[in-house]
């Protein structure tokens, strides 16, 4: 199925969770902020969030320094 991640169309498998997608992209869930279809998804909901065809995700991965 197709989803949109940070503005680009991506193919991902049916039944993929948000947690699974982050793992696939090698992103540490403790260092990301995720918006799904315009709504922020809290960290504790990553594992339970099942991605659906056409989902639009904005994933910001933070790096340290300030």
């Amino acid at each position: 199925m197709k989803i949109i991640v940070n503005g680009s169309e991506r193919e991902t498998s049916e039944g993929r969770t948000l947690e699974g997608l982050l793992e696939e992209r090698k992103l540490d869930p403790q260092r990301v902020a995720v918006e799904r279809n315009g709504a922020i998804v809290s960290r504790e909901r990553f594992a339970a969030t099942l991605l659906e065809e056409g989902d639009t995700l904005e994933i910001v991965h933070f790096v340290g320094g300030g």
């Binding site: 260092r31 902020a33 809290s42 933070f62 340290g64």
Partner: protein, 268 residues
């Protein structure tokens, strides 16, 4: 007609010029500012113009000082930012510089939060002084901001921010700034603000270490009422330090994004 002279509404004769006003009200003034810009030549005046006359080196009265400090602002900015409150989470390289820029801009209230004390390794990029080593950062920053602009109200929270206290500490803020050091702390603050303070625009930063080219630091919209400053990838790590210029560039991107938001403009 009426003009604003040193922020006081003042009646002047129709057709009066800048220098005529100076001759009448402050003949010894050697700085004449019209609508935010200093002029050396005479200029015509219109109803509602803002004229500031300053005599170099003269200590203005407390009533006059605030107006004179804002006289190089773009007209109309001061009244709007004066009413605003901005929350700054973290008083390190980003937060201390954002706070200084916003205090100079005359933002009415700053809420600053940090749990740390000033230490020597902070001084390569943070807006503190050697004699403040050991002082809680929020106290040291409050002191420095008061010396820069005593008309800014500073609320300081000396403690650790977590998902349970963030909404309370920053209640009433019009814009939020994420200015932490650690990536996981940045993510925690962003998640918490966007869930608990969903109406408040948030300006975060990520990717500002080292001395890579300045123009790789950008401001972009990264979600609903969420703006991100930085190159997105240059992490502080062994071999990649944090340097005053680039941290300052990112901090000033953040401060300008805040100013734009307070003035109703899109930052990115």
């Amino acid at each position: 007609m009426k003009i604003w002279l040193n922020e006081q509404q003042t009646e002047i004769a129709d057709g009066a010029t800048l220098f005529m006003v100076r001759a009448r009200f402050k003949p010894k003034a050697d700085v004449t500012i019209l609508n935010g810009f200093p002029l050396r030549e005479d200029h015509s005046l219109d109803e509602g113009d803002r004229v500031v006359l300053i005599r170099r080196g003269e200590r203005p009265s407390p009533q006059e000082l605030e107006a004179l400090m804002a006289s190089r602002h773009t007209p109309g900015v001061h009244e709007r930012v004066k009413r605003a409150a901005v929350g700054i989470a973290g008083a390190g390289g980003l937060g201390s510089a954002v706070a200084v820029a916003l205090a100079r801009s005359g933002v009415g209230r700053l809420v600053i939060a940090d749990f740390d004390v000033v230490e020597p390794s902070n001084l390569n990029r943070q807006q503190f002084f050697v004699d403040q080593i050991g002082v809680p950062k929020v106290e040291a920053l409050r002191e420095n901001l008061a010396r820069i602009n005593p008309y800014v109200q500073v609320s300081a929270f000396n403690g650790r921010l977590d998902s349970g206290n963030i909404a309370g500490v920053f209640a009433g803020c019009d814009v939020m700034v994420e200015a932490f050091d650690g990536a996981d702390q940045k993510a925690m603050l962003v998640e918490t603000c966007r869930i608990r303070l969903p109406q408040v625009p948030l300006v975060a930063a990520s990717g500002l270490a080292g001395y890579a080219p300045s123009n790789t630091v950008v401001t972009r919209r990264a979600g609903t009422r969420f703006y991100l400053v930085g190159d997105g990838e240059t992490a502080a790590r062994p071999g990649e330090g944090l340097m005053a210029p680039r941290v300052g560039i990112a901090a000033h991107h953040q401060a300008n994004a805040v100013l734009r938001l307070l003035l109703g403009e899109e930052p990115g």
